[in-house]
């Protein structure tokens, strides 16, 4: 009965409070008389299925809920994550400067080969801008990380960013699998099968229950 898929990637949204992480994950707007039950509780994570070069890829995307200080985000939080969106607010200089601290936190706590991408969010607010696009690009070059400006409000580049990060993780995994299992060396199992993952859930799944 269970549907198969080719890859499952856990992704995290990281960055200072107020930069728009929750808005990137959650788009609901309420009217004057009714409030959505969902918006009062908030979203913890989403599962999305995308197609990457004919492969079925499941993304599990986590928000950071009220843990936005570096100190509180430790190894346990990053466990199992394969991709991280580093988000700053283009109208908030401090949030941009803090990206370096976030990167250091990731280097200290996350797996060494976690894929990263920098998002300069709220690019719709041009009149209030404090961080130019060029500075965002420079930072990305410095760390050799991909970069894009986004607007959660206008849904600009958000989907593009997730596809890009997912594609980079997939490419990295395929490279690794090829290296550890060169063609002809052993069988031809060059790919993690979803059935295996379902029998043995990755350890970070247990994180669900402590939240």
């Amino acid at each position: 009965m269970a549907k198969t898929y080719d890859y499952l990637f856990k992704l995290l949204l990281i960055g200072d409070s107020g930069v728009g992480k929750t808005s990137i994950l959650f788009r609901f707007s309420e009217d004057a008389f009714n409030i959505s039950f969902i918006s009062t509780i908030g979203i913890d994570f989403k599962i999305r299925t995308i197609d990457l070069d004919g492969k079925k890829v499941k993304l599990q995307i986590w928000d950071t809920a009220g843990q936005e200080r570096f100190r509180t985000i430790t190894t346990a939080y990053y466990r199992g994550s394969m991709g991280i969106m580093l988000v700053y607010d283009v109208t908030n200089e401090k949030s941009f400067e803090n990206i370096k601290n976030w990167i250091r936190n990731i280097e200290e706590n996350a797996s060494a080969d976690v894929e990263k991408m920098i998002l300069g969010n709220k690019c719709d607010l041009d009149s209030k801008r404090q961080v130019s696009k060029e500075r965002g690009e420079q930072l990305a070059v410095e760390y050799q990380i991909k970069f894009v400006e986004t607007s959660a409000k206008d849904s600009l580049n958000v989907e593009y960013a997730f596809y890009t990060l997912a594609r980079d993780i997939k490419a990295k995994m395929e490279k690794k699998q090829e290296a550890s299992n060169p063609p002809g060396a052993r069988g031809g199992t060059h790919q993690l099968k979803s059935n295996d993952q379902q029998r043995k859930p990755p350890s970070w799944l247990s994180r669900c229950s402590i939240l």
Binding site: R27, F28, I35, S36, I41, G42, I47, K58, S194
Partner: protein, 123 residues
Amino acid sequence: MSDADIKDAVENEYVEDGSNKLLVKCKFCGSKILERKSGKFVRKEIDLPLMEQDKRVEAKVQYEKIYQFFFVENMYTFENIGFTHTIDNCKYLSCADCDAGPVGYYDMDTKHSYVALSRVKHE
């Protein structure tokens, strides 16, 4: 038609061999939630919060009884879905694209999900 007849009619239309005959989609935006045949039909009586809560009825969540669900054993079976933060050992399910919900719930103990037939579109 009695209540029981209506229930049977729903089941004949949307259930085949014990699972969802059609694609399960969001009622509002059409986002794909489940592939065909990926949820198992179950009868269960559950109080689910209404999708739209009247703001004027203060501090009181309004519920509705729901009896028919598609059971999903593994959360990665979902095509697109949102999970809320946990309350009372449960997460509510919402549309991953427009955030409408709850379309069902997720039990933290069993790690099983249930999608309410009446809260989704069948195509």
